[in-house]
Amino acid sequence: MLDEIRAILKEHGRITVDPATLADDADLYLAGLTSHASVNVMLALEDKFEVEFPDRMLKRGIFGSIASIRAAIEELKG
């Protein structure tokens, strides 16, 4: 799953570094993720993992790192 998240970040995150080189817990906002780009990341994640992030998850913290994105998807997948 981590690889797929990295691939989505690479395609849609418009961040300043290659996600392959980012640690799982690295701060994506410090890597240049904007709130606008994060929407595209969310859309791609919803499509790829066939989940819908409920509104309570749509906040900065949840999309702050690769690890927190994985935790959110795992929670939704149950």
């Binding site: 410090l30 929407v39 992030f53 409920p54 509104d55 749509l58």
Partner: protein, 389 residues
């Protein structure tokens, strides 16, 4: 014991009526800083209204600040907007800086000296996109250097301190920003343009080239991203909207007095303009409900143990804050224009008691004070993933 809330609102009402109102025409005509009213607000220690009581401040919340802005704006829009913008800066420091002895001391000093803080977010090349900076903080040991090409600094020439956004470091991404408090002794502003505008003329907001240095403790340690969503945006949109509500209220109050005057001259008949007054009074009520509702919700959130961080940083709350800004900025112009139609030629004249011109000119700034389309674009993008209302 005196109730600090009622004493603040009555002080603002007195300052509005006795000091801001009589100067408002010259402030507008000459595009001059509303010095008398701001000095009076300082004398009442209202520039520290939001500073926590532990540090000697007024300890007011969002609802009271909103009321103060609304009251002042009924008398002088520029006084109210300067007051609002200052409180936004104080709130950023008070809600995100108290972990630092430096910022604690600063706020204690602000209570005593009633410093006025201006905001430097806009920058040449990025316009109103607050969450992007070109300039960067350059660290040199335990000091920093910061230069910024600022497009609009309200009361820049009259402020004691500046709160400035910049990239965290020269290598940081455009959205990876810090917020830095600059003190007058350590910055220079070179004005490179005029502020001869349609309205909001007394805010005195020309472009400046800013050069500064200072000790690193002046940089807030919390990332600006968090300060923006949790404090700067909610305070900006609510306090701006409160100023706009005050402007709308002033215009409607003129329309009311015009209609009463017409009614008195022909007792027994209802003037035809009374229907339009009834209509605009309902619109004003809707605007007021919107502002008060969001201010109350925000105050409740901010009183929670996490200071509202969880909800304030959510997309659904950002959408609501943005909706408040766009809706009130639009309805303001609508209300003022309808008041102009009610007052007719007496409203169109600049020298009549029910003159509407300045309200209209001031009101037109609301949609560009961060362009509404920019905000709509953000909301449009958030609505692609938000599911519920």
């Amino acid at each position: 014991m005196a109730n600090p809330q009622t004493s603040s609102t009555s002080a603002a009402a007195r300052i509005g009526l006795e000091i801001a109102a009589p100067n408002s025409t010259s402030v507008d005509r000459e595009a001059r800083f509303p010095r008398e009213a701001i000095d009076a607000l300082k004398a009442e220690r209202l520039l520290s209204a939001y500073v926590p009581p532990e540090l000697g401040g007024g300890g007011l919340g969002m609802i009271e600040l909103s009321q103060l802005c609304e009251i002042l704006a009924q008398h002088c829009s520029s006084t109210a907007m300067v007051f609002a913008m200052h409180q936004i800066q104080v709130a950023c420091i008070a809600r995100h800086g108290l972990g630092s002895p430096f910022f604690k001391r600063y706020l204690t000093d602000l209570v005593e000296k009633q410093y006025l803080i201006a905001s430097v977010t806009s920058e040449a090349g990025v316009g109103g996109e607050m969450r992007t900076s070109v300039c960067a903080v350059e660290h040199q040991g335990d000091r920093f250097k910061l230069d910024k090409d600022a497009t609009t600094i309200s009361y820049g020439a009259h402020a004691d301190d500046l709160l400035v956004t910049a990239r965290r470091a020269p290598e940081a991404a455009p959205s990876d920003q810090s917020l830095v408090l600059l003190s007058k002794a350590e910055y220079s502003l070179e004005q490179n343009g005029a502020w001869d505008t349609l309205g909001m003329r007394g805010t005195c907001s020309p472009p400046f080239k800013l050069r500064s240095s200072g000790s690193s403790e002046r940089i807030l340690s919390v990332p600006f991203a968090e300060i923006a969503s949790n404090t700067m945006v909610p305070f900006s949109h609510i306090l701006w909207a409160s100023c706009w509500l005050g402007i709308a209220t002033a215009a409607v109050s003129k329309a009311r007095s015009f209609v009463r005057m017409q009614a008195r001259s022909k007792p027994g008949t209802t003037p035809p303009t009374a229907i339009r007054l009834a209509e605009v009074s309902g619109t004003l009520q809707m605007m007021r409900a919107n502002v008060h509702d969001v201010a109350e919700e925000c105050e409740k959130l901010m009183a929670q143990p996490d200071a509202g961080a969880d909800v304030l940083s959510s997309m659904s709350f950002a959408l609501k804050m943005n909706n408040l800004k766009v809706a009130t900025s639009q309805v303001l112009v609508d209300i003022v224009q309808r008041c102009l139609l009610i007052c007719g030629i007496m409203g169109y004249k600049n020298d009549s008691k029910v003159s509407i011109g300045q309200h209209l000119r001031d009101g037109l700034s609301a949609a560009l004070m961060v362009g509404n389309d920019r905000i709509y674009a953000t909301n449009a993008s958030m609505l692609l993933v938000l599911k519920e209302d």
